[in-house]
Symmetry: C2
Subunit: 202 residues, 2 copies
Amino acid sequence: MDQIDVQKRIFNAAREVFTQKGFAAASMREIAEKANVNKGLLHYYKWNKRKLFLRVFEEAFATFSLRANEIFESDMPIREKIEAFVSHYMDLLMANPHLPAFVISELNRHPEEFIRRMMQQSNRPDPSNFILQVQLAGEAGQIRPVHPFHFFLHLLSMCVFPFLARPMIQGLLKIDGDTYIQLMERRKAEVISFINHSINPD
Amino acid sequence: MDQIDVQKRIFNAAREVFTQKGFAAASMREIAEKANVNKGLLHYYKWNKRKLFLRVFEEAFATFSLRANEIFESDMPIREKIEAFVSHYMDLLMANPHLPAFVISELNRHPEEFIRRMMQQSNRPDPSNFILQVQLAGEAGQIRPVHPFHFFLHLLSMCVFPFLARPMIQGLLKIDGDTYIQLMERRKAEVISFINHSINPD
DNA sequence: GTCTATAGGTAGATAGAC
DNA sequence: GTCTATCTACCTATAGAC
């Protein structure tokens, strides 16, 4: 572990601490300890708490928005695209189960700054292609006409929310983390089926 | 404002500060200032930061779980109950638009403690009645048979998630807070219609 | 590059005057 | 009940020895 480049050790430690504790509860001391470097070194490498946090947050946010854009902008028929989104996006969420809560928490802590900063970046989420496709598919009779933006929100909500409410759901069902992942794996088919039944033309 | 009972002023200030900043970023000084009382008074009234926070969190959590239980345990046919839930729960969310992010953030910050503490309380969320009703309605052919727990999750997700992702959605659509509320008011009918189309028997 | 020491600030909590 | 003053602990960040 100590073999790895110091810069990388610092950043990995920062990711771990910030995503677990959030900006306010995190400390530079803890990041330094976890990276096995001296506190002073963080500043030698031109980091401060805010810069380190912004890098971690942007990486986390980009993880989710890039994958979503990838799928939304791909060249697939609407139903396949919905299936691909549910399947691949939930895979991503299962691989990073605590990142969604981190992003949502910090995003709501400074909403104006978030809107200002993130929405000017190239990696911002952009479902416009998908929304247009839903609109056109409805007009062409391929699917039941639905409000395209709200449909996008339905899709995203059903995939992401269970990971935000995870502690509550684990408490309700009295299940452990592994069982939770199994439940989410099973959920993919449930979400796809639920959506497909809703958008079948009358 | 200074007329109000000191205890109530303290608690109102605590609610405001904690829900806006979260536990870690909140300070007793700020709560005291907002309540127009001396810092020392907070401790005179036997409060400390943790106790004050727990009261605020429990109140916020109970707000959402009590209303949900109320609807889930009411005596209504399944379709009416779904409509009532979407309508009344989204009303509650619109009336407290920043509480969901607060609850989800803090809940994920200490998941084990949350599961231990909240799930033993009388006001914990309990959708078991609703889940059973969905199961029975499916068997009776009133609705298409669906996985009852995942269906409950679909319903909750579509109502709550848009309030958690609010800054992102406002950024995407370039709309202000008032327009957002209008969008959510409109959303009620979209969610109800989306669900109804999905659960119509084949 | 890596360390120690410390500056400078703010946090929660308490003691005691009034 | 309400105030001031203060304690202890921790934070970020920096200066400077090695």
